[in-house]
């Protein structure tokens, strides 16, 4: 194929020469080779490979969740920078900035709402992205470490959300951060100095606001940017998994990224942007009265993504509810790709028909069991009361945890006895715990009333 001939510079007009100096190579490219070259040569597009798998383009495989996270980061960066220009991070002025956004500043509410809802949506989409990768075995060799980085990114997203939660300096912010950082206090040895360092003192105050502001606008975004660059680079190098039906080989057909993937991304981003702007135009981010350190609201709840942990804390000794159980959960999450190397099921949703059935069953079981245990704990279960001679870390920590672990191991062995493969049984166990955590979060958000008593969600 002949290279496109470019006329000598002096034969072009000035405007054409300026345009040519911005875009390397001919625009638009005329053939597949030109399109691939364009992707390779472009700073922004080169995060994609020149060609991608056609079946992996199907929205029902990836749901565009990774891309949506990038879009949300971009919206957060733009709206965040705008908010920087009106926000003052001091206890006296922060809440005034919120009032100014609501009353004086043109589109102030819209920008704050966009920032708020995009940030919260990012936690949800981050979890969904993790689940998509999990249930299509997208973490198997050579992608194990990218899974680990993804988990790290999810933690950073939560950290970004949590630090941003304090900035409006209203009652909601103040007490959610007080309760949230108090969870950290239960870490043995390092808990107290770490909390002091984060808060800049022993309570949430002016120093906390400065600290959280610095973390929210600089430290965490830089961390996310660095890690996400690495994450995407690995996706680019390792390529994404190819979807396939059970019992069939993967379709190896490839198409050029430009325009097949790029156009999908563009439309997808535009649709989400429209949805988010519409939502933010009508639904306001919450703002309560200004923070009052002397008066806690009843009930005082942590940020919604921590409600599962706060709920755990109602049932376990603090060391277990806040540290050991979440720690075990995180450790297992990081170990998943190193334990599971079943390469035959990559790209198959839920591994197999049996895997699908077991996952569905485990999800329902996890939900039912969690509701059951929470209710039992409310009306009957009382290890500290039955065993008053034992320290509470034993009676309300090790003993119930041992029962739980035994039940989980029993369930795993039962699944394998009934013919489930290792990876299917592990997936079922993961699903059970996921359902349990979702249920705890639901109970914490909707079913805890005054004094944290159990209530029905509609009362």
């Amino acid at each position: 194929m002949p290279e496109q001939t470019i006329p000598p510079a002096h034969e072009q007009g000035l405007l054409a020469r300026i345009r040519r100096s911005i875009q390397r190579g001919p625009l638009p490219p005329e053939d597949d080779r030109g399109r691939m070259k364009m992707v390779l040569d472009s700073l922004i597009l080169h995060i994609h490979p020149p060609k991608v798998s056609r079946p992996a383009l199907k929205l029902s495989y990836t749901f565009g969740l990774g891309g949506l996270l990038i879009l949300l980061s971009a919206i957060l960066a733009v709206t965040g920078v705008l908010l920087l220009f009106v926000y003052t991070p001091s206890p006296d002025a922060a809440y005034q900035s919120m009032i100014a956004l609501q009353t004086e500043i043109p589109y102030g509410n819209l920008i704050r709402n966009l920032h708020h809802w995009s940030g919260n949506l990012m936690v949800v989409v981050g979890v969904l992205h993790l689940l998509r990768v999990f249930y299509t075995a997208g973490f198997t060799r050579p992608r194990e470490f990218n899974w680990v980085m993804g988990v790290g990114l999810l933690l950073l997203i939560v950290a970004a959300n949590f630090t941003g939660y304090l900035l409006p300096w209203d009652q909601l912010a103040y007490w959610a951060v007080t309760v949230g950082t108090s969870l950290l206090d239960y870490l043995p040895v390092i808990g107290e100095p770490l909390t002091r360092l984060l808060l800049g003192g022993s309570e949430v105050g002016a120093a906390t606001l400065t600290n959280f502001y610095g973390m929210h606008i600089a430290l965490i975004p830089l961390g996310i940017f660095a890690l996400v660059s690495f994450h995407i680079w690995r996706v680019r190098k390792d390529t994404i998994t190819v979807p396939r039906e059970i019992g069939q080989d993967a379709d190896t057909e490839k198409v050029t990224t430009m325009p097949h993937l790029v156009s999908i991304e563009f439309i997808y981003a535009l649709v989400w942007l429209a949805l988010l702007i519409t939502w933010s135009a009508f639904i306001n981010a919450p703002l309560e009265s200004a923070a009052d350190p002397a008066h806690s609201p009843n009930p005082a709840k942590a940020a919604w993504y921590f409600m599962g942990f706060q709920e755990l804390l109602l049932h376990f000794h603090p060391l277990f509810g806040a540290i050991i159980i979440p720690g075990l959960g995180l450790a297992s999450l990081l170990l998943i790709p190193y334990l599971d190397q079943d390469m035959e099921t990559i790209g198959v949703w839920f591994r197999s028909t049996q895997g699908r059935t077991l996952s569905r069953f485990s999800f329902l079981l996890g939900m039912a069991a969690t509701f059951g245990f929470v209710w039992l704990d409310e009306v009957w279960l009382d290890f500290p009361g039955w065993l008053p001679f034992l320290p509470s870390a034993l009676s309300n920590g090790w003993i119930p945890l041992a029962f739980l672990l035994l039940a989980l191991i029993g369930y795993f062995e039962l699944l394998k006895k009934s013919g489930a493969r290792n990876c299917e049984a592990r997936q079922a166990l993961f699903t059970l715990l996921l359902a349990s955590f979702i249920t705890l979060t639901f109970i914490g958000i909707f079913m805890r009333g005054e004094g944290m008593s159990l209530i029905l969600p509609w009362s």
Binding site: T178, S182, R196, L197, E203, A294, N298, A300
Partner: protein
């Protein structure tokens, strides 16, 4: 024992590696010290001089808003500086004059006047601040560090 030989190259690698680790440690320490909490006198995190102890009647609980603690004078005349922060999850605990108890609005923990746990989920009694009574009878409370205690005991009560 055979002597393990370290080549010149290995030796230099170890020295440079150690220097790098030392630099990283120093900078981390500088950063942490730079970010460590500050506090001044007369505001929370500093010391409070509350004046003559005789002005507080026995069996009274006086909130010191700026210091975020309660000055408790027991029936027998002894003093305690009780930190307002609930030991469960950090909410501000108000004193209920009617029941003579501290009742946490967040998760329902209840404490006696000297901060002992009456009702869970609080895992331990309310924290204390160091309280001293000077030679001329002035009460000084140091709010720099709260004192955690596993049990409330009469030994913690300060007498003039």
């Amino acid at each position: 024992m055979t002597e393990k030989k370290v080549s010149r190259k290995d030796f230099m690698n170890i020295i440079w590696g150690a220097a790098g680790a030392a630099a990283a440690a120093e900078l981390t320490l500088v950063g942490l010290r730079f970010l460590s909490p500050r506090s001044g006198e007369g505001e929370f995190g500093g010391t409070f001089n509350l004046g003559d102890f005789n002005q507080f009647p026995t069996g009274s609980v006086t909130p010191v808003e700026a210091g975020r603690f309660y000055l408790v004078r027991m029936e027998d005349g002894g003093f305690l500086a009780v930190y307002r922060r609930c030991t469960h999850l950090g909410c501000a605990v108000p004193f209920d004059q009617a029941s003579r108890q501290f009742v946490c609005p967040c998760h329902g923990s209840e404490f006696t006047m000297d901060g002992d746990v009456l009702n869970q989920p609080a895992p331990r009694p309310l924290d204390l601040f160091e309280l001293t009574i000077t030679d001329n009878g002035e009460i000084v409370v140091d709010t720099r560090n709260s004192i955690e205690r596993d049990e409330a005991s009469p030994a913690q009560i300060i007498y003039a």
